[in-house]
Symmetry: C2
Subunit: 128 residues, 2 copies
Amino acid sequence: MKYSKATNYALHTMLFLAKEATNKPVGVQQLAEMQDVSPTYLSKILTKLVKEGMINSVSGANGGYTLSRNWEDISFLDIIHAIEGKSSLFDCCLYNDPKCVIKEVMLSAEETLENELRNRKISDLVKK
Amino acid sequence: MKYSKATNYALHTMLFLAKEATNKPVGVQQLAEMQDVSPTYLSKILTKLVKEGMINSVSGANGGYTLSRNWEDISFLDIIHAIEGKSSLFDCCLYNDPKCVIKEVMLSAEETLENELRNRKISDLVKK
DNA sequence: CAATTAGAGACTTTACATATCTATAATAGC
DNA sequence: GCTATTATAGATATGTAAAGTCTCTAATTG
Ligand code: SF4
Ligand code: SF4
């Protein structure tokens, strides 16, 4: 059980875009080089962020990616969910025993984790 | 990013053993049948718990597994660590930037999760 | 000794993350 | 309109780890 590299790439990209105060699009070429990953693969990851409305993409020459308007609200959890999906960390083997104690513990722990990640915004890291 | 099925099997086995107040060994055959998993595979998982001192094994006829003496102290985190390993959920791609903000957020969130899981003991689920 | 049980190791299968390749679509600048 | 540049999409390949099987060995019971 680990966060995927794709999540790592997405977080680093978001942080970089946030640090760039400018609105000029940043090409995937540059973003990929910084992180030592292939541009086509990173592009595929960033497309997920585009579809979730976290960043915008601009085709054509001098194109690239920019943060969306509401970027200051984007949390770590948002980014993780965009890449890893939103399904629970804990897969129950049987069907929905509602008073199952194991499930209760695991889901409540996961919720604690999500709350923490929901409160941490990319924008908080930039302001200082 | 998900908890493995092996973790699920380990948790269910521990809970079952805890509910069995008796000290009689329970064979892997029976444990596996309940969880619809092959005995040899489950055996491999339970051996990890034996090595961490959470359960004891008894070979030979009428053998099986019993909880260890200190079983009331065993937390969810202990079991998860025994199966999934203890390495961090977040793999940092570069080497140890100590003031890295991303790493700081991810590790602190993970610590919150671990604290919650450390406070939940198998024995708490049985007492009621 | 015979039956039963856990443990160990090699191996296979499956699933998924990671990545590559190629073709298409959109845009800028000339 | 033409060309270069850039993102997007889909098919495909590779790598890795989880999940599971098979077989042999060791310990214990009776
Ligand atoms: S006991 Fe709980 S965790 Fe296990 S299968 Fe049933 S509902 Fe799921
Ligand atoms: S920026 Fe932080 S998370 Fe990223 S590689 Fe460096 S230390 Fe690791």
